[in-house]
Symmetry: C2
Subunit: 202 residues, 2 copies
């Protein structure tokens, strides 16, 4: 029997570089990204099953009630959630599955799936975060300020995470996260087959 894959949760403030790090991790085929479901309307460029699974509200609520989500939350009147089925299937196949979610969702997942590995990605400094957000040139000064405030709040919660990874340089951060997953594969509870084999050969 194949040992299960690792459920890897990556959180971090807007501007920490989560998106790029995740893109790099999935490039080599050792990781797949979980796709969230949402009740909000698709944006122009967004494709069903690629960016999100778009659901009607009643459909979403029914999925909540039948335990179809690992975690879910409601922001600005829209529901967002991680459907359980595909994640569990891929883990059983031995794939590492990435959830890119925010702190509250991450802590929900840990309750339901205690084997999940929680990684918090941080910028080298809040100053650097501010520079990155300003450099994007997509958000107003007000939005940037509220993101910085939120980042500081989130950093308070990062002690709940298993690992903190400083994203000073993308390749570096990607390799650190990959090392974390390889190390997690050496946990005894992920090596029940190895242990059985060891004992069985007496």
């Amino acid at each position: 029997m194949q040992d299960k894959g690792v459920l890897l949760i990556i959180s971090g403030p807007s501007g920490s570089g989560k998106g790029t790090v995740v893109e790099n991790l999935i490039k080599d085929g050792d990781y797949i990204l979980s796709i969230s479901a949402t009740t909000r309307n698709p944006r122009n460029y967004e494709k069903e099953g690629e960016h999100y699974y778009f659901k009607e509200k009643n459909e979403f609520v029914e999925m909540i009630e039948t335990g179809g989500f690992i975690e879910h939350a409601c922001f600005c009147d829209n529901y967002y959630g991680t459907p359980k089925k595909r994640v569990e299937e891929k883990l059983a196949e031995g794939m590492n599955v990435i959830l890119e979610i925010e702190v509250q969702g991450a802590l929900q997942v840990r309750e339901k799936m205690p084997d999940a590995v929680l990684v918090f990605l941080v910028p080298p400094s809040i100053k650097e975060l501010e520079n990155r957000l300003k450099g994007r040139n997509t958000e107003s000064a007000e939005v940037i300020e509220s993101r910085i405030k939120r980042a500081v709040e989130e950093i308070e919660l990062l002690r709940e995470y298993d690992y903190i990874v400083v994203n000073d340089e993308i390749d570096n951060a990607v390799s650190k996260i990959d090392t974390i997953v390889k190390t997690e594969k050496m946990r005894p509870f992920r090596n029940l087959e190895t242990i059985k084999k060891l004992k069985g050969e007496i």
Copy 2:
């Protein structure tokens, strides 16, 4: 302030290759080995402060009573223990300290120092362990049999450990353990300075 070193506990059956793995880890200067104290008589080749700290029984008992040991045990009427002072000093200096101790001692350490990282080194199979023990040509068939029996008992307890490392090949096992320690350095509680710095720069 320097972040603390990692207290690394390595256990594993006789014949798992612990000694060689530890020798390789300390070679590069990133790790030091803790030296045990004992009340047993030194063997010909053994040097005070290199193989053991040799103590009188009353001296040893006094150290137990004053909390001078991280762990201690009594085998065949002799006491063995890990003196606390040097370990704590070296960890505070940022050094990684290795304790090469057996399972019961390891679990005692975990109670007193919950940040300790427990690694269990196993041979690829029990058959391989038997071959290694026989290959040494230093133990009688009876002793080998009792070591195998003990190994199987210890393997039952390895689920209490943080990591299992299969020693198929020395370099491989050494590099896996080094990776574990590097990964453990990314734990939030070992990065309080980084977190403070992040928050302080607001």
